[in-house]
Symmetry: C6
Subunit: 74 residues, 6 copies
């Protein structure tokens, strides 16, 4: 896969949160590399509450990592 992650440092907590979202999606993309399959899955999954909560959980785990990497932007 081409270069997509060069640093965990971000300027603000919000950028850190958005990096966590990228990390969560990349975790999916490495398992299902076909973008058209991922796009096909999105409508169903984006309208299922538990699927959304599960996705939010992965973001939360990555946000822990990113926040620590940035010393919580203190």
């Amino acid at each position: 896969m081409s270069e997509w992650l060069t640093s965990l440092q971000t300027d603000t907590p919000q950028e850190g949160f958005e990096l966590a979202i990228t990390l969560a999606r990349k975790g999916v993309a490495y398992t299902q590399p076909a973008a058209e399959v991922r796009d096909m899955l999105r409508p169903e999954y984006a309208s299922n509450a538990d699927s959304l909560t599960l996705a939010s959980q992965v973001v939360a785990i990555h946000f822990q990592t990113v926040a620590q990497a940035n010393n919580y932007w203190k």
Copy 2:
């Protein structure tokens, strides 16, 4: 997305807990940006015990991050 997260610092543990709830909801909103879809999902999911527990779990993970960012409000 417009600016919504500028700091992980809060004055009290309870405000930190409420920030964790915001973070959990934002994790959903980035995946399903349509507020009307999220609102439509809420009644079913808010009356399902396992869905509520899953949501509470995401809050718990974010609360770990926020609590650490605030040195546990010691």
Copy 3:
């Protein structure tokens, strides 16, 4: 919501565990504020093994936070 969390410090590990239980329940209550709905859900969920395990998991995550806040009561 009125004030319910002023400190993560507890006198004993057991009180810390009980605070973790409170935190897990509050995570639910912020999503489903109606106590009568939560009470209605309890019988089914309290007699389902996987639901109980899931609830115990949320407690475990919060207990990590509370234990660290108290330096493991060492």
Copy 4:
């Protein structure tokens, strides 16, 4: 509930693991205090692979806490 947890310190890693199991079970017992209900649920759940994995996961989370409390028994 009567006193059941006075310390997270254990003499050995194995005792720490067994404390983690106790903590996982207590997380269930606070939600379902009736021992006869918990006993009734056990046969089904103890013969379901995913239920057992879920239970093992809660133990793993608590073991993190106990291991850290004991400085990994180094």
Copy 5:
């Protein structure tokens, strides 16, 4: 249960990963002590993708603990 865990220290990361697998299995064995029941469950569960992912998750949590106990084998 007889002695099975005397230390979290391992010589290499791979041995640490294999200890994490042992810990995940022991978490199951304490809940379902009958080896013949666990053996009976294995074929179905070892050919179900989500069951395997769940099992891998428990290993991941334990590996965090073991890696930290070994200061990441640095």
Copy 6:
């Protein structure tokens, strides 16, 4: 199993993320050693959104470990 993990150190965050993916897959391979069974499971699971999210979650947990081992590549 032959040697496959000699270090948690990587040169870049992206290599660390890819190591996390390897660790997640190895967690599966220790439970289901038959590569042909794992290959058989892949099509179904790689086209199920929740299965992909679950897999991404395991990667997230391992990435926490790898990132910490590398001091967040700071």
